[in-house]
Symmetry: C2
Subunit: 445 residues, 2 copies
């Protein structure tokens, strides 16, 4: 963990605004930065050497106070598009009707629960609504610990699953110093670099070994928690199916599996509604967040009724805002937009175009390393032209150059050298070409 | 803790719909109840022997599918009134402009942060926005544990502070079986019944003893976490100032103090914006939730910059939806409504009328015991007419009778015999009289 922690410090610093940077800022930006420092203090993290002062957004476009328009390849929260009219209308309408907790009966809430659950395979038939992915993963940990009687959790080395105390413990990437507790073990992400050609078998063996190591220390195994596209680890999607041996290994060790769908869920991978479904597996618990309400705070846990029952026998649980009538209206509108706007297929086609363009560009741009991912969740390694070594500084420079060119994007991976492409799912082929053109232009310079 | 846990089971069962109840339900309600059971499973908790099927709400009124209108004395989430036009308008407008996480700069977010922080005394000058009270208390625990190096927390016996793993540990009322871990100690709430005439001194002594008991077991003290109106304990507000010795005791024991303002905050107590302010004390950390966005999921932690800095040195922290532009618009509208609608003064006057009416009614209704609280957060003990003993069954029967009479209300306290009066703050004097009249009518019958 020591190395991962050190490496992660680099990421946290990457692409963050530094108050002592020398570049002069426009007056409006400088004023907001100062106010932000006074009000938010140390937990404020702001993107870019020159932060953006945003005044509007639409589709895959973001508008700033200086009159510029940016192509948004970063934001997966407004997943069906910034200010999607269907979501705006649904939230506005329901806000004016009623918005209370769900200890009464409302049609909207149950319409949404059913529409959502229809996207899940048996035996995942129950949903508990929350407000965030963090709350979802926090509840999921309690569910599998309660059901297995275990405490030990296996995650990947640069995993991020949320911000509560319990979820931070299973998020190695959140530790700036120190390491997760003994009941959390991190394994490398599923890539041939770590496991050789048979990624599935190697990843599964690492999980087995981690569970056994905890058991040897008297820590019974509770299960495996994975973001099924390994976004913060650097985006690992292929080959489809590699998660099957991992799930089997976790279960053979007496554990259960939580699939964190905050990043890959809601059609982003282009062929399936959920990242786990690409791998032909069924988790015990599925957690959802970010894209679920297109920016309205909405999360959820979908699981087997027996797990919820075991938990409810021990603890009272209620989430005041979780899935309230307005949240449910937002969630219904998101599911409607995905279907009606054909966003899954769009993610497949447009994501495919980006992969094709950037792969072809490698011949002219040796800084582009591996291009991988699924649908509109892609990782693009930035490497040193000479050595092919990971180039985090190059990635950071590229991110800021793209920003100057009108394109917003971020980075991932333990070294921070993997461009993370995850735009609103309504990105067009023209916009994909615009991004690829900009990459070629900047990297050729 | 054993007794508290057993007692709490009664509360959890109190006023909850039981699927095996014999009363026949209208077809629409029966259908929704069945769907709810299928979709939500064991974590579903539904109010009332005959659940409400809600189709609208306005002010302090809730409308059901059978055409009835209910006076809402239960819901503190829509604190400035159900569907307050100012909040509806603000959310609708901002939803159509932009709604992203706060790693960019937006005017709305900083306008809100400043307007909110203006309500806090020095040295509480930083805010971290969250989505829920649970997330707020989870972060607050991490802040004071990080700052003190301690782990031990003192709470009250029937406290409820939220639903994450870490916050459930400090919420004795959430345990259906078992007890909180050794690093959490519960003390009786501040009432002469437990501490004699000098409630402040007694409560403080109990906190000192709990901290010392943990220290004796090798658990260093982190601090005191209190809901400053002790809502789930049964509502204890008087005399103002009784919290000062408690805060001093916690600090003398090396701990810090978290004031959980999810229940009393945002002007509800009628004379101050925050429950702690009534007591003339300044906490180290203040947590907010429910009423903050009038139903829009919004919470926050206000604290000293040094606590945030110490935390941020150790952990990355970011809350994706927390205080996003739409949440900030909702929060700003709530602060505006409190000021423009005169809701603090209204809470004082209308709450005072309820206390006056119910206190006067005791001569005719011996089932009414102690009437206590502040502003529009009141506790009304329901007791056996003969013995004066707490009467949880009587409270439950009264709650259901009031529901039949068109008034919604709930219960609190370890035995569940304390009616909890916490309506939207726009409740009128006529509505207060309507409630008092109904109480007298039902209790006289």
């Amino acid at each position: 963990m020591g190395q991962t922690t050190r490496q992660k410090k680099q990421i946290l610093a990457l692409n963050a605004f530094a108050a002592d940077a020398e570049a002069p800022l426009p007056a409006d930006v400088a004023d907001l930065v100062a106010r932000r420092g006074r009000n938010f203090g140390a937990t404020s993290v702001l993107f870019y050497e020159r932060p953006l002062h945003i005044v509007g957004a639409k589709g895959a476009r973001i508008f700033t106070a200086d009159g510029r328009s940016y192509l948004d390849l970063y934001n997966n929260v407004p997943s069906v598009g910034h200010c999607h009219p269907k979501v705006v209308e649904a939230v506005s309408r329901q806000m004016g009707r009623y918005n209370i907790h769900t200890r009464y009966l409302f049609d909207e809430v149950h319409d949404y629960a059913e529409r959502l659950l229809a996207h899940f395979p048996a035996p995942l038939t129950n949903v508990a609504f929350t407000c965030t992915g963090s709350e979802s993963n926090d509840l999921a940990l309690r569910l599998i610990r309660g059901a297995t009687g275990g405490q030990g959790i296996v995650v990947t080395e640069t995993a991020y699953h949320g911000n509560t105390l319990a979820v931070t413990e299973v998020s190695p990437s959140s530790y700036k110093r120190g390491t997760p507790p003994a009941y959390v073990r991190a394994v490398p992400p599923p890539h041939p670099r770590h496991y050789g050609a048979d990624v599935g078998a190697g990843f599964a063996a690492a999980i087995t070994a981690a569970a056994q190591a905890m058991a040897a220390e008297g820590i019974p195994f509770a299960g495996l928690l994975v973001d099924s596209i390994f976004s913060s680890d650097g985006v690992y999607a292929d080959p489809p199916g590699f998660l099957a041996p991992a799930f089997a290994a976790a279960r053979a060790a007496g554990g259960m599996v939580i699939a964190d769908e905050v990043q890959p869920g809601f059609a982003r991978t282009g062929t399936h509604m959920w990242g786990f479904a690409r791998h032909g597996v069924v988790p015990d618990v599925v957690t959802m967040g970010k894209p679920m309400g297109n920016g309205f705070p909405l999360g959820g846990v979908v699981t087997r009724p027996d797990l919820l029952q075991r938990f409810a026998d021990a603890f009272g649980y209620f989430n005041t805002f979780g899935g309230n009538p307005v949240a449910s209206a937002a969630g219904l509108a998101v599911l409607g937009a995905i279907a009606e706007d054909g966003l899954m297929e769009n993610a497949r086609v447009v994501g495919g175009r980006i992969v094709e363009r950037l792969t072809a560009a490698r011949a002219r741009c040796p800084a582009i390393g591996e291009v991988r991912g699924a649908g509109l969740y892609l990782g693009v390694e930035i490497v040193s032209a000479g050595t092919g070594a990971p180039d985090a500084e190059g990635a950071s420079a590229l991110i800021n150059a793209l920003r100057e060119d009108g394109i917003l994007i971020g980075a991932a991976g333990p070294l921070g050298h993997v461009l993370k492409v995850r735009p609103p799912l309504c990105l067009t082929l023209d916009e994909a070409d615009r991004f690829a053109d900009a990459m070629e232009k900047i990297l050729a310079a």
